[in-house]
Amino acid sequence: MQTKENNQSKENLIPGYLNGELTAEETRELIVWINLNSANKHYFDEYCEIWITARASLKNPGYNFQEGFWKFKQKIKANEDLQIGFNKTIFLKILTRYAAIFIVTFSLSGLLFYYIGKNRAAKPDLSFSELIVPKGSRAQFFLSDGTAVTLNAGSRLKYDNRFGIKDRIVQLEGEGYFKVAKDSKRPFTVQTSHLNVMALGTEFNVKAYSDDKTIETTLVEGSLKIEEITDKNGTEARVLKPNQKLTFFKEDSTMVNETASPKEKTKKNTQPLQVHKSIVIPRLVTENVNIEPVISWKENRWIFEKQSLLQIAVELERKFDVQINFESERLRTFRFTGIIIAEPIEQVLEVMSISAPINFKLKGKVVTLSENKNFEELNKRLYKK
């Protein structure tokens, strides 16, 4: 009688096991029960099968065959590339309809590089791939591991043929949106001038133009680890949660306060990360943000949230490869909120001139912005605090 009851209770552990909720002790008890006889084992196997099959019949069981198949294709391709010894770098699949993309690949044969791969018979030549997206265009492509990358205008992404062997490292200058393929063994790292951004399987945006004063990392999904690149060891890593943006100020903080003022963010959610080191003025600031405006550049949509015209001008210059001059100083500080779905630049400027007191002149690649005096009345109402 005693044993039968005991038996019964162990059997009760099966649903808990399937749901991943047993303690190690309970798991051990279950194993003992399974081991008692082959009938128990069989019973357990049947339950597992029902459970696995029940999950497989779901509409969204957490796996996607297309994603898996893509990875498979990339892997067999990479294997075959390995066999022919990296004669060609065929890592990229360009899926873009924008023509103006340059891919620069070059090989540094003969140069001695320290190579870490253990299982390789011969040291392969280290070759680089660099994707350059000039101003006025945009590129979308997949890396060999299945990671989807969108590069904004005036950006470059560089990596070498060790990509995907032990880890996945790319170097970014400019702005990129990354949808990283899951691979727990090989973390995905985006190196920028000052920061390393590390991810496993996430979606995030990195904005690191060399002529910007900040580097902005915004996480859409998953989790990110961000480290400052410094000479000293043991710098603290910051962890970002979805819908958070980390802003890194490249310059000394005293300068930043001036220069960053036009694009000052809503202070509500801003919290300095280094609260415990109160003497250090934070160069890294985490805040909760609305994702949409940050990644709107990917589609030809422009979402501005209280952005200064100066900042917008910088982005227009990159996107359309133009030069923007201001006729009035005051104009630079005008803030603009809205969505523009338009191309080419004439249309964008037109939309802006309808909704804000701006006149524009476009001559070749030079745009001149001036104040629209007739707009004054409306302007008063619009921009009065």
């Binding site: 399937l18 084992k41 099968e49 459970w51 065959f65 198949f69």
Partner: protein, 193 residues
């Protein structure tokens, strides 16, 4: 069905990428769940399944599949998952406290024909079985399965005790087992021949 199986094997041998796509479409999710069941981590599971397919691709000319492709894949994923656990003992929370022979028991018996349930018509019966569960029981089963909710979360959400959740889950699985019993017997019998 036998023919299409043989056809598929031939296409694989010839390195027809479309044949692999067919396999992915048909079995990828199922195989991932099998691997996840053993290694208990979705991203490791995906990697294991990809590795199995890559391996098959690499040896495609020499490959020798006598039974069904599905059985072959299930077995390959099973073995690769076990190997994975052996190589990565430290990284697995579950196996930390268990020794090798223990987790092999928790994977299924290699003689057990896992995957037989994973056929269209039987899956329909299974879905039907789920919808025929008593309301409360069904709700709990679906929450646990579809949304991966922990028992305690389900208890919270429904305002019932965790023991009730456990009992209902047990009833759900027992009923489904009952529903599928005949099919399991037939399949076992067929495999036995």
């Amino acid at each position: 069905m036998e023919d299409s199986n043989q056809q598929l094997i031939n296409s694989i041998k010839q390195g027809d990428i479309a044949a692999f796509e067919t396999l992915y479409k048909k079995y990828y999710i199922f195989l991932c769940l099998i691997a996840e069941h053993i290694v208990r981590n979705p991203s490791d599971a995906e990697e294991i399944v990809t590795d199995v397919f890559v391996k098959i691709w690499n040896i495609r000319e020499k490959i020798n599949i006598t039974a069904s492709i599905k059985a072959y894949l299930v077995k390959a994923v099973h073995n690769t998952s076990i190997n994975f656990l052996e190589r990565n003992k430290i990284s697995n929370k579950l196996t930390d406290s268990l020794n090798n022979s223990d987790y092999k028991i928790l994977a299924w018996d290699s003689d057990y024909p896992l995957g037989q349930l994973y056929e269209k018509e039987i899956m329909n019966i299974l879905e039907h079985g789920i919808s025929a569960l008593p309301d409360a029981c069904q709700q709990i089963f679906i929450l646990s399965r579809n949304e991966n909710m922990k028992y305690i979360e389900i208890a919270d959400k429904l305002g019932i005790s965790i023991n009730t959740v456990k009992t209902q889950m047990k009833i759900a699985l027992a009923r489904l087992r009952e529903t599928l019993k005949d099919y399991m017997m037939i399949l076992l019998f067929l495999m036995g021949i």
